[in-house]
Symmetry: C2
Subunit: 432 residues, 2 copies
C-alpha cells in the first residue's frame, strides 16, 4: 500500500465536498487501488478550524505550506476565479505537483499557459469537475469515445440557468421573479451574470471543444447569448409547438470549420435534453461510430462536484503509483496535434427559427411579413396569429424551416422597420 498525499487550496463548498468524499471513501478507494489517499494539508485564509473528521489534516493560511511540502503529490485548486487561482496552480506545477481543478473560467481563458507549464514539468492537470459537475463527461469523451470523430456536442451545462428556465416553464413565472427566488434559495449567486448570460456555459464548451476536436479555441470564439431576455409568453408558445426552451451549448464539426455557440434554444419534447430539468446537466456527443451518447447528472453541488474532483485525484494517484504519468494527455490530443481552427461566423449558421413579431392587428400584416421572409430565403413552417384582446398589438408567431442567420437578421431588420410592427421581434433558434 502506497500513500498519496493531497493538498487542497480552498475549503469552500467544493473544497469541503471534495475533502468529505475523499475522507469518507478512503477505504473504498483503497480496496480499488491499494492506495491510501491522504488529505495532508488544506489551505484557506477564511477558516480557523476544520471539521472533526479531518483531525489528521493540517489547516494553514499559507499556500506555500502546500507548495513547499515535498511529500504532497497532488494539489487540488478549488478557490475558483482567475486570481489567485492561476498563480497558485502555476506555483504548484513549478513545485512539481500534479494539479486537479474544477476551475472552468480559468482553464477556458488561461488553459494554454497552464497546460504548457504542466507539460514542461511533466505533471498532470485533471479537470473532470470543470464540466458537468459529477458527471464523468471528460473521461467519457477522452477515453470512452477515443476512436470517434466527434461530429457535435450539445448540452445543458449550467444548473442555475436550467433551474430558472424550468421554474419559468413549470409555473409561468417571469425571469426576474424566478431569479430573485433562486438567489434566496442559494441556487443563484449574488451576481448571476456568468450563469444566466451563458458565459459559464461558454467556458465549459471551450474546454470540451479543445478535447473533442483537438483545436485551439478561445472563449471569444464562442457566440454567447443568455436567458435574461426570455419571456413567459415565448415559453408558452414553445409549449404549443411541443418544445421547451433550454440554454444549450452547441458545437458542430463542419470539417474545416467549427460552430461554437451558446444560446436559448427550443428543444422538441421528445428530445432527451427537453426532459433535463432543475439543476441537472446533460451533455450529448455525436460520434461518427458511436452515434449519440448522452450523459446526465448533477452539474454542480458540494458532493457531486467533489465526486468528480476525487475521481481525478484517484486517476492521478494511480498514475503516480504505476509510474505512468500523462498516460492520457490532459487535452485528449497530444500537444503537437492540437491545431488552429476556423470558427463559423454566427451569421453563417443555419437552423430553424422561432419569431415572435409584435404587430398592429390589421388586415394584410401577415402578407407583408411573409413577403419579407420569402424574399430573404426564409420559408415558413407554421404561423400562430393571436386575436386582439385589449391592446392593438398582437403577437404573430412564426416557425421557419432551416434558414441562415444572416438572412434572418436582414429579414427581421426589415420587419421591425415596418410601421405596423410595434416592438422588436424576438428570435429563438430551434434544435433540429
Amino acid at each position: 500500500m502506497k500513500t498519496i498525499n493531497v493538498g487542497i487550496l480552498g475549503f469552500g463548498t467544493v473544497g469541503s465536498g471534495t475533502a468529505e468524499v475523499l475522507q469518507q471513501h478512503a477505504k473504498t478507494v483503497l480496496q480499488k487501488t491499494d492506495l491510501a489517499i491522504c488529505i495532508k494539508t488544506i489551505a484557506d485564509i477564511q477558516i480557523d478550524q476544520l471539521p472533526e473528521m479531518f483531525s489528521k489534516t493540517k489547516l494553514t493560511k499559507h499556500v506555500d505550506d502546500i507548495f513547499d511540502d515535498p511529500k504532497i503529490d497532488i494539489v487540488v485548486e478549488l478557490i475558483g476565479g482567475l486570481e489567485p487561482a492561476k498563480t497558485f496552480i502555476l506555483k504548484a506545477i513549478e513545485a512539481g505537483k500534479h494539479v486537479v481543478t474544477a476551475n472552468k473560467a480559468l482553464l477556458s481563458i488561461h488553459g494554454k499557459e497552464i497546460f504548457e507549464a504542466a507539460a514542461q514539468k511533466g505533471v498532470e492537470v485533471g479537470f473532470e469537475a470543470s464540466v458537468g459537475g459529477g458527471i464523468p463527461v471528460i473521461k467519457s469523451l477522452k477515453e470512452g469515445l477515443v476512436a470517434n470523430r466527434i461530429n457535435s456536442i450539445m448540452g445543458i451545462m449550467n444548473g442555475t440557468a436550467n433551474y430558472i428556465l424550468s421554474q419559468m416553464t413549470d409555473f409561468g413565472l417571469p425571469f426576474d421573479d424566478v431569479l430573485e427566488d433562486a438567489k434566496q434559495k442559494g441556487y443563484a449567486e449574488a451576481d448571476p451574470t456568468y450563469d444566466v448570460e451563458g458565459i459559464d456555459t461558454a467556458h465549459k464548451l471551450v474546454i470540451l471543444m479543445i478535447m473533442a476536436y483537438g483545436i485551439n479555441i478561445q472563449l471569444d470564439d464562442v457566440s454567447t447569448e443568455g436567458i435574461s431576455q426570455i419571456k413567459p409568453i415565448d415559453i408558452d408558445f414553445a409549449k404549443q409547438f411541443g418544445c421547451r426552451i433550454k440554454l444549450l451549448a452547441i458545437a458542430q464539426n463542419n470539417g474545416d470549420h467549427f460552430e461554437a455557440r451558446v444560446h436559448p434554444t427550443m428543444v422538441p419534447d421528445d428530445h432527451l435534453l427537453a426532459s433535463v430539468n432543475g439543476s441537472y446537466n446533460a451533455i450529448q456527443f455525436n460520434g461518427d461510430m458511436v452515434g449519440n451518447v448522452l450523459l446526465y447528472g448533477k452539474g454542480a453541488g458540494k458532493l457531486p462536484t467533489g465526486s468528480a474532483v476525487a475521481a481525478d485525484v484517484v486517476d492521478i494517484a494511480r498514475n503516480i503509483a504505476f509510474e505512468c504519468v500523462n498516460r492520457v494527455p490532459s487535452l485528449s490530443y497530444l500537444p503537437q496535434y492540437i491545431k488552429d481552427c476556423q470558427i463559423t461566423p454566427m451569421d453563417k449558421i443555419c437552423c430553424p427559427y422561432y419569431f415572435r413579431i409584435t404587430a398592429m392587428d390589421e388586415p394584410g400584416v401577415l402578407a407583408q411579413i411573409a413577403g419579407i421572409l420569402g424574399k430573404n430565403n426564409i420559408s415558413i413552417e407554421s404561423v400562430i396569429q393571436k386575436k386582439r384582446h385589449d391592446s392593438e398589438s398582437v403577437p404573430i408567431v412564426i416557425l421557419t424551416h432551416r434558414a441562415m442567420e444572416n438572412d434572418v437578421e436582414v429579414a427581421l431588420g426589415e420587419i421591425d422597420g415596418l410601421k405596423i410592427c410595434t416592438g422588436k421581434t424576438v428570435k429563438i433558434r430551434i434544435l433540429e
Copy 2:
C-alpha cells in the same frame, strides 16, 4: 511511436465493426496516444476474404495463428456465446495476450474463471462493450464514480426488448406482431429468447453489480422476468396512469444484502428512463456522493459496439506502452476485496404494484378484492373499473402503494381463487 498488434476472433457484425473503427480512426488514435494500433490478424472460419480496407491484415481460419503469434499483444474475442469463445479466451490468456470481449453471456457465467486466469498471467480483460454497447458505462462506473458507494443501478439494457415495447406503446400492437416484424427487420434474432425474456439483461446486470458492489454474484441470483406476457391493454392502462412499461434491470444496495432483478416495470413519464425509446439503452447509477448519473446511447449495433471495443483496445494499448498493466483492476475492486453477498429473496422486495384483475361485472366485486388486499397489508392508491361492453368479464385495474412481494403473491392467489375472478391477475411492478 510504438506499434500495438491486435488479433480479432470473429468477423461478424461486431468483429467487422471493431475492425472498421480501429482502421478508420487509426490516425485519430495515433494523435491521442502516439501508438499505432495495427490489426495484424483476423480469424474467422466463415469468410474467405476481408474487405479491401484491411489489405494489410492477415485472414486465417486457425485461431492458433493468433495465439501463437508473439507479436500480437491484444486478442479481441467477438465470436459470442459460451463455446468456443471461452476456450479461445483462456488460450489467449495462457499465451500471455490481453483480451477484449463484448461477451456478456460468457463473463456473467464464467467470469470468475476467466478473470482468475488473467490475474495469474498478469494480463488484462477489457469488456466495456459487454454492457450498453457504445456507452462508456463500465469506465464511468469503475473510474468516474470510483469514490462513491453505489446505492442502486437501474437501466434499460436490451435494445431488442426496448424496441418491441416502444413499438407496442406507440402503435398499440400486440407483442407477437411486433416481434415478428422485428425479426424481419433484423432487430430481433431468430431465437429472441435471451432478449425478450430478460436473460441478456440479467447477464449485464451481473457484470455491473460485481463492479459496483465488489461482490460475487451469479446469474442465478438475478430474478428474471421477460416482456412476452405484456399485453397492449396493460400498456394502455400504464399510459392512463402517466407511465410507460420498460424492461428494467434493477440492483439495490441494502447494506448487508442486495436486490438483483429484471422485470417489466411501469416507469413514470417524467423519469428520464421513460424517454429512452427504440433500440437505445440507458443506465442510471445512484451514488451516495454524485447522486443520479444516467448514461444513454446505442446499446448494440456494429459501429457503436465497435467503438466500445476499440476504446478498450486503446486503453490496454496505453497500459502496454506505459508499462502499467492492470492499472485499474478489471472488476473495479481488487480481487482480495470481492466478497460473497446475500441476495434479497424476491418475495421480500417492496415496491408499488399495478394489478389488472379480470372479474365478473357484479356488484360487490371491488369490495371483496379490496378486502383481500387490505388483509394482506396492501393499500390501494387508485382504481379503474371499466364498464362492461360485450363480455361479462371486466378489467379492474388497481395501483397500490408500496407493498411486499410476498403479501402480493398471497393476495393475488386469494383473488384469483374467487369465483367472480375469471382470469389470472396481471401484476406489474412500478418504479418508485
